[in-house]
Symmetry: C2
Subunit: 384 residues, 2 copies
Amino acid sequence: MEKIIEQAFAVPFRYQVCFLEGIFDLTNPLLANFLDNGKKAKAFFVVDNGVSNAFPDLLKDIRDYADAYQDKFILSAEPLIVEGGEISKNDEATFKKIVDATSIFGIDRHSYIVGIGGGAVLDMVGFAAAISHRGIRHIRIPTTVLSQNDSGVGVKNGINAYGKKNYLGTFAPPFAVINDFNFLTTLDDRDWRSGISEAIKVALIKDIGFFEWLEKNATALANREMAPMQELIIKCAQMHMDHIAGKDPFETGSARPLDFGHWAAHKLEHLTQYQVRHGEAVAIGIALDSTYSYLKGMISKLDLMRIINLMKALGFGIYAHELSGKELLKGLEEFREHLGGELTITLLEYMGKGVEVHQMDSDLILQSIDQLKLFHQEKVVADS
Amino acid sequence: MEKIIEQAFAVPFRYQVCFLEGIFDLTNPLLANFLDNGKKAKAFFVVDNGVSNAFPDLLKDIRDYADAYQDKFILSAEPLIVEGGEISKNDEATFKKIVDATSIFGIDRHSYIVGIGGGAVLDMVGFAAAISHRGIRHIRIPTTVLSQNDSGVGVKNGINAYGKKNYLGTFAPPFAVINDFNFLTTLDDRDWRSGISEAIKVALIKDIGFFEWLEKNATALANREMAPMQELIIKCAQMHMDHIAGKDPFETGSARPLDFGHWAAHKLEHLTQYQVRHGEAVAIGIALDSTYSYLKGMISKLDLMRIINLMKALGFGIYAHELSGKELLKGLEEFREHLGGELTITLLEYMGKGVEVHQMDSDLILQSIDQLKLFHQEKVVADS
Ligand SMILES: NC(=O)c1ccc[n+]([C@@H]2O[C@H](COP(=O)([O-])OP(=O)(O)OC[C@H]3O[C@@H](n4cnc5c(N)ncnc54)[C@H](O)[C@@H]3O)[C@@H](O)[C@H]2O)c1
Ligand SMILES: NC(=O)c1ccc[n+]([C@@H]2O[C@H](COP(=O)([O-])OP(=O)(O)OC[C@H]3O[C@@H](n4cnc5c(N)ncnc54)[C@H](O)[C@@H]3O)[C@@H](O)[C@H]2O)c1
Ligand SMILES: [Zn+2]
Ligand SMILES: [Zn+2]
């Protein structure tokens, strides 16, 4: 007897991504309403110490807010402060502390874990929430440009293991995301800038109009003007979300158009032990793949210069000596392994349109990095 | 500025559940075809030692099969043998060994982890596969009645932590499930019988015809006849799968109709430190909730006797002294906590139809357990 039953179903996911200022203003019930599960939900807060150091009143604000909305939710325990940045994804003890807390404080599937912090802390907290009780409701409050416009609005979480980035993790949509722009005021310049590279990325592969907008607003963004940054974040978050909703949200295939510029970036982050920020590395990765696209005859020299000059205007480095030719080629192979299937790299078909290729020419990669080194030394790149 | 973006999408899942005999017959390409990803997939096998002890040739069979189909897949390493039973879900070291192996042997998102064993080993292996690389393809080869007709065909995995059952886990559909009936021949009587309780469960809440079929085949099943067991497993697996596909596959709500009889079962498993098998505990839980349904006036005495007599004919115990009134009431509260939201218990509206209730009467629970104790002492229960 041989018999086969086909199983097929679709699991619907739905969440809101909000943009505002003053999430803990006592007059703003938004967060409390998310936390309201009809029976005094328990909420457990995990806070990036970069944020709590920058906002010394934050913990008090959280407590006051909980007091004001105690009919809707209660704090299951004092907020847990964890070290911000990549270390939070490397340190198993921190991760374990959060999983432990869910058990100790009885955070169940109808309770909430609220993460406040940069992309690294949110990735780590999200993973802890995803596996405890097979998934506790998770609210993300991203506090960096990168986490507000990219990492925090998506469906992935993870921690590093075996020296490999995001080795452990799941696909787990958040319960809600609340982007409070006020947090951005205390970012240091590198973190302010860093996330902008993800906007350049989506603009280059999807929307030339947005790229032109970035060119126009580059100086204002570099000067840390808040209005264009808010506009950038909303636009960029929307584009990332549309992409995720569009096709293969849980990335079962090998295609990853949103990883434009990321293969070299991953290698550079690793080589510098995460001293280079994700967004900074992505900027260099984009510069590299754009140069490669130019050398392949896909975009013009003028197009390439626009990209390089935009990055320079924003203050990005576009070259790093750690990215030797040898390391780059190794990085390409690692990226292929990481994808698992076929190598799939996004290049530029033209400005505003990405295209997938399944192999890259080693010689051209080496030429690209040499070219970038030259560009890097010039102040503004002129047509030659 | 306050703005909200709504995100909504559905993630499609699809997998096949196969029933056969002789999965490693060199002439049967079924498994090899699942493993064939177009570029010599790596497959890593994890085997329950209860199975490898019962089938001393199993490892050789796996190697021979891999040799025969080396154009489709390769073994990434020697199969890993792990201790079977609940201990595999309690022992973090075993779990970690599998996650480590994915890194050491380069098992990526397009490679496969194949689990062969009972429900416990499959739950544990499934969890390791689910979080490594955010999800490695996982093929389940269930080898017990319970795992073939219930746990192995569904979407949940998990391990125990903090003394709590399935505390860590995810919802992660398998890549494929292959039920090989030959494995069932070596089960000890308790494991042969145990999984039948899940069939009684779905029959009572969904399909009176299936219940009647069980009554007719009780003696044959108790005598370990294979033909009715195969029929039972296919029917029961199909019903579980239909249920999962039907509504809320990832259990976001509090309703869990498939947990009929399970609230007391969980408590009993825990109280006996898993000396009582899941299916054995479920049988007692079903007997309890059926008795409660009778005392509530929902089913007749005659109906209740049919249920009790079926269980007796199959050799199930229907009472356990560990389930004192006090422990039972505690178990009910724990189940409510476990669900997170409102208490939701399935009782019998009538034979073949479950109904959800949101509270249970403590006195009637105590009466039910006393009643069960009496039934337990009688050989066959007669109408009084
Ligand atoms: N899950 C995803 O889909 C996804 C996508 C892209 C990137 N990521 C991950 O995101 C991480 C990078 O995130 P990031 O760029 O936000 O950096 P980060 O999380 O490493 O934070 C950078 C620094 O800023 C501090 N900080 C955070 N908020 C602050 C604030 N408001 N004021 C002052 N300091 C503050 C942090 O403490 C940290 O020291 C990486 O681990 C990357 O892998 C994840
Ligand atoms: N994921 C789910 O949806 C789900 C649903 C129900 C139950 N479960 C879990 O399933 C587990 C129980 O599974 P189970 O009933 O299969 O028992 P089990 O996995 O504990 O196995 C029982 C014993 O049988 C041995 N064994 C397995 N196959 C054998 C074979 N072919 N021949 C001889 N011995 C064999 C094992 O080594 C073990 O000692 C529990 O942990 C329970 O929580 C999970
Ligand atoms: Zn990125
Ligand atoms: Zn069960």
